[in-house]
Amino acid sequence: VIGDAIWVIAAAAGGLAWLLVGAIGLSLQSKRK
């Protein structure tokens, strides 16, 4: 039960990483225009 916190943090970090990928993609797209 306590060990689950690590996995929830890992999922949150993964979600933030996906957001970062999306932000980089959007910024690259806007630069191209």
Partner: protein, 155 residues
């Protein structure tokens, strides 16, 4: 003419991405519904077993079940965010986690499949753990009794 074609192609691609995002959201909603039903069923199995027990035995059994079994919500979240790599690592299946990591979550296909199969897998594991905990209950109670008699003898 070429620039106009590129413009149209970009628009088509962005519309395709939006359609894909809507499809993925629909898939996720379906998986979430399935996950909620599965979570309810998993708890029902345990509460049925707990109903006929005395207080100490019920507490022992519920504690054993809770500490051994995995959380369906956490497993589902990991399967959505990190794919089967994260979900199988959480479930302790490090072989499948390594396979998913090497194949980049099965080239995306295994990722989508895991949104539906992971909650079901955790449910099946929960059922097995519930059955095993119920089978182990007499042993756990005898261990508790031995511990208590030893502590009682000491004080």
């Amino acid at each position: 003419v070429i620039l106009g074609f590129v413009d149209v192609a970009l628009k088509v691609i962005s519309v395709a991405w939006i359609a894909l995002a809507i499809l993925i959201l629909a898939l996720l909603a379906s998986a979430l519904e399935r996950f909620l039903v599965a979570a309810e069923r998993a708890d029902d199995i345990m509460f049925e077993a707990l109903a006929g027990l005395e207080r100490d035995a019920a507490l022992r059994l519920y504690h054993a079940f809770k500490t051994r079994s995995k959380n369906i919500g956490v497993a589902w979240l990991l399967s959505v965010v990190l794919g089967p790599c994260g979900a199988y690592a959480y479930l302790g299946n490090w072989g499948r986690a390594a396979l998913a990591l090497v194949t980049l979550n099965g080239f995306g296909a295994w990722w989508i499949e895991s949104w539906f199969s992971i909650p079901q897998l955790v449910l099946i594991q929960k059922r097995e753990i519930a059955a095993r905990s119920i089978a182990d209950l007499p042993f756990m109670m005898s261990q508790d009794a031995a511990f208590e008699s030893r502590m009682g003898a000491r004080s």
